[in-house]
């Protein structure tokens, strides 16, 4: 299968390992990966902060880029079958916000095109389990790991236990349940800045839960939530590392030849 990677702006700029691991994992599974290099951002930060007008050109650009990625090579496209992103939140925005932003601006043709791109866009665990039909990706990861199911993966995308099924199949992993796992970590995009005190209080409780697991590694399907929880764990020198789900599934040593 030819898979177009939507790296997401956050992973591209700050957490490239999440996107790199996604690429190498899919290639190891025998798929062809393409990267539409014109991609930027899904525009979720703008939409969720109330700047829908500013989000419109960002959404329009995303739809242009990935519509071309899905178009046949003969028509100048990249011939991708599907799009994958290492982020439940960004896929949630593509699926639940793009058409709405276009419709709100009265651009129904864009809304229709956005819906078509969204229908081909998957979060990593969805792609692996639902589209590619694998739960054992052949990775080994001999570490004590706990998993935070990010809010948008859980409630916008309904990924359910797909990430956990993938993790349970990893050889050597010591997977421990995170208490109160479905509670938000307090990130919420600009919420963390506009309501920093409340966000920090939520983060404090999440960190307490992480510490209770004695895990070496906290994993999740979203770099944004990991940036938030990881930022708190780093500040308090907790010693628990944050690692994106894709990096675990890519297998130990995946980054040896980056």
């Amino acid at each position: 299968m030819r898979i177009a990677v939507f790296a997401t702006c956050l992973a591209d700029a700050l957490f490239p390992r999440a996107a790199q691991a996604t690429v190498l994992l899919l290639e190891r599974l025998g798929h062809e990966v393409v990267f539409p290099a014109d991609q930027t951002c899904c525009g979720q930060m703008h939409v969720n902060t109330g700047y829908q007008r500013e989000a419109l050109p960002v959404v329009g650009h995303h739809v242009d880029v990935f519509e071309r990625a899905l178009a046949p090579v003969a028509d100048g496209g990249l011939g991708a079958d599907v799009i994958v992103a290492p982020s439940g939140s960004c896929v949630g925005s593509v699926r639940h916000q793009h058409a709405m932003v276009a419709s709100s601006a009265g651009d129904e043709p864009l809304a229709g095109r956005a819906a078509q791109v969204a229908a081909k866009t998957y979060e990593l665990s969805e792609l692996l389990v639902d589209v590619l039909g694998v739960t054992d990706v052949g990775a080994s990861y001999p570490h004590r790991v706990t998993y935070h199911p990010t809010c948008h993966s859980l409630r916008l995308l309904r990924v359910g236990d797909k990430p956990l099924r993938l993790l349970r199949s990893v050889a050597g992993i010591d997977l421990v349940e995170l208490p109160g796992a479905d509670q938000c970590c307090g990130f919420g995009g600009t919420f963390a800045l506009k309501n920093a005190d409340t966000s920090t209080a939520m983060l404090a409780d999440k960190m307490r839960a992480v510490q209770a697991t004695s895990a070496e590694v906290l994993t999740a399907g979203d770099s944004s939530c990991l940036m938030h929880i990881g930022g708190g764990l780093s500040r308090l020198r907790v010693g628990t590392r944050t690692v994106h789900l894709a990096e675990i599934l890519a297998g130990e040593g995946w980054d040896a030849n980056l």
Binding site: A19, V33, T40, H46, A196, D197, T198
Partner: protein, 531 residues
């Protein structure tokens, strides 16, 4: 200075003594949400009590909801019924009015809180004039609508004491406190505190009172029985009004509501115009959804239904006051109107990670929590969305409410009528931003930053250039982490580190990967495949 009550204040602001502040009404607090939240977050006992209470209610609700195979179908039905009501509200309201009137009730229409309070006051004074004996005390069924209009305070100003008969509301009232939760108004009081409140404020209470729940309940019961037997006027809200029959419904746990609804000779019901259901049969859906979502019970102990007046049975005079107070402004908003579907179960409060940590106080409105964050701005009016008023202008605390959420979506999942609260919050944020845009042509720092980010992200070349600029962040960090940044990012680094930017962005890595021959574009490259 009065003595500070020995209590944990989880909730709404105490009754305000500042007359200027009280004019802000019951929907508009004194502080913006972030500032009020900071105060609440510093209260350790509040955090502990709320965490415990909400976790308990969450577990109860989850258990009884899981019992029903058709829970999702019920939610769909509830949502569809409410959408239908909103789409033909004028017609249904007239039908309700006609049926209440035909059964001997009197219907009044109130545009806002003041009008509602004035109508109710004049009805009570009319009863006194008719009897030649002024009414100086009325009994009340727990009601959010009367809290919204500030009825008790309005009646007190006319020399009429309104006695709350719901046990939790009574506790709150005796302590001169305010509720902190829609359904469990005294969620913030423990039994030792309640004993102390009764000893200090309940006339004729046994001085040997203990803090056993049964003893406390018996004390309240004895206190209220005396009041019920002498009350001439009762005031209630309504959970539902049936357009088809003119029937009103109140759902409660204690039976004190039923005492109010049956003993006094005059009954006055204040109902928000959105509380309608079209037909009697529709109650079947809501009477399953409401108790399971609110108290986590399969069925509530008391459901009282009444239709007009029945000679020789119950109140012989019945008034229904229909309250707008910003609801038609919400109705005019095609997206925002779904907030009017709310049946006041408060399931969204109990699952909300923000409410759980800050309590009701920080919202500054009688409607706290996620539903309050979408309902209050629409009723009270905020910048960009008219309510009963246009909004209070710059610095209006109401304007901060749509941002009081991390958009985690737990509220949407819990809502029995499937109100998409996260989408409503985002919708109201956009209205607020557009309102600011219209008011100030000169952009705020935030708007300038958002516009710049959009400019960068709508074009790939600009984005790649901006990413290169991020590499400068490597200079700021120490030991792989950045621990201090200037405002507004200092809000982040006050409690969290940021990793230093990587040596190489993903797209830089991708562009230097060797490209296999025969690929159609420099950006397309795959693994050597078996094909």
């Amino acid at each position: 200075m009065g003595r500070e009550p020995v209590s944990t204040d989880l909730g709404m602001p105490r009754r305000r003594v500042n007359p200027e502040a009280s004019e802000r009404g019951t929907l508009r607090g004194d502080l913006g949400f972030p500032q009020a939240a900071r105060v609440a977050l510093a209260n350790g006992q509040l955090r502990r009590n709320l965490g415990h209470a909400t976790a308990t209610i969450r577990a109860k609700r989850a258990a009884v909801v899981a019992e029903l195979d058709d829970w999702e179908a019920l939610r769909d039905a509830g949502s569809a019924l409410k959408a239908d009501v909103m789409s033909r509200l004028p017609e249904l309201l007239e039908q309700l009015e006609a049926n209440v009137t035909a059964r001997g009730g009197v219907v009044h229409w109130a545009r806002d809180a003041d009008e509602a309070n004035a109508v109710i006051t004049s009805i009570i004074q009319g009863v006194g004039a008719r009897d030649g004996r002024p009414v100086d005390q009325v009994v009340k069924v727990k009601s959010m609508a009367t809290q919204e209009t500030g009825l008790n305070e309005a009646l007190a100003a006319q020399g009429i004491a309104a006695v709350e008969t719901d046990l939790a509301e009574l506790i709150v009232q005796l302590a001169d406190d305010k509720p902190s939760h829609i359904l469990v108004p005294a969620i913030h009081r423990n039994r030792a505190e309640i004993r102390q409140i009764f000893l200090e404020h309940m006339a004729g209470v046994d001085p040997g009172l203990t803090d056993e729940p049964r003893v406390l309940a018996m004390a309240a019961r004895a206190h209220l029985r005396r009041t019920f037997l002498s009350a001439r006027v009762a005031i209630s809200g309504a959970n539902f009004g049936v357009a088809e029959t003119g029937t009103l419904a109140v759902v409660e746990s204690e039976g004190n509501g039923r005492m109010c609804l049956t003993l006094p000779d005059t009954l006055i019901t204040l109902m928000g115009i959105e509380k309608l259901v079209p037909t009697w049969r529709d109650l079947e859906v809501f009477l399953q959804l409401l108790p399971r979502s609110s108290t986590g019970e399969r069925m509530n102990p008391y459901t009282s239904l009444w239709t007009g007046v029945t000679p020789g049975d119950g109140p012989q005079e019945f008034h229904l006051v229909l309250l707008d107070n910003g609801r038609t402004a919400a109705l005019a908003d095609q997206v925002g109107r779904s907030a009017l579907h709310c049946i006041r179960c408060s399931a969204c409060l109990n699952v909300c990670p923000v409410y759980e940590r800050v309590g009701g106080h920080a919202y500054g409105s009688v409607y706290p929590g996620p539903i309050g964050a979408v309902l209050t701005p629409q009723l009270a009016g905020m910048h960009g969305h008219p309510g009963v008023g246009p909004g209070a202008g710059p610095g209006d605390p109401v304007d901060t409410l749509p941002y009081a959420s991390s958009l985690c979506g737990a509220c949407f999942d819990a809502c029995p009528v499937k109100i998409d609260i996260p989408s409503l919050l985002v919708h109201l944020r956009a209205q607020h931003v557009d309102g600011e845009r219209a008011r100030h042509r000169l952009p705020t720092a935030e708007r300038a930053a958002m516009a710049a980010a959009a400019w960068v992200m709508a074009t790939p070349g600009r984005f790649a250039t901006a990413e290169k600029g991020l590499a400068a962040g490597r200079l700021v960090g120490r030991g792989g982490r950045i621990s201090s940044l200037p405002p507004p990012l200092s809000a982040w680094t006050s409690a969290r580190d940021l990793p230093v930017p990587p040596r190489e962005t993903f797209r830089q890595w991708w562009s230097r990967r060797p490209s296999p021959a025969g690929t159609p574009s420099p950006f397309v490259r795959g693994a050597p495949s078996d094909e």
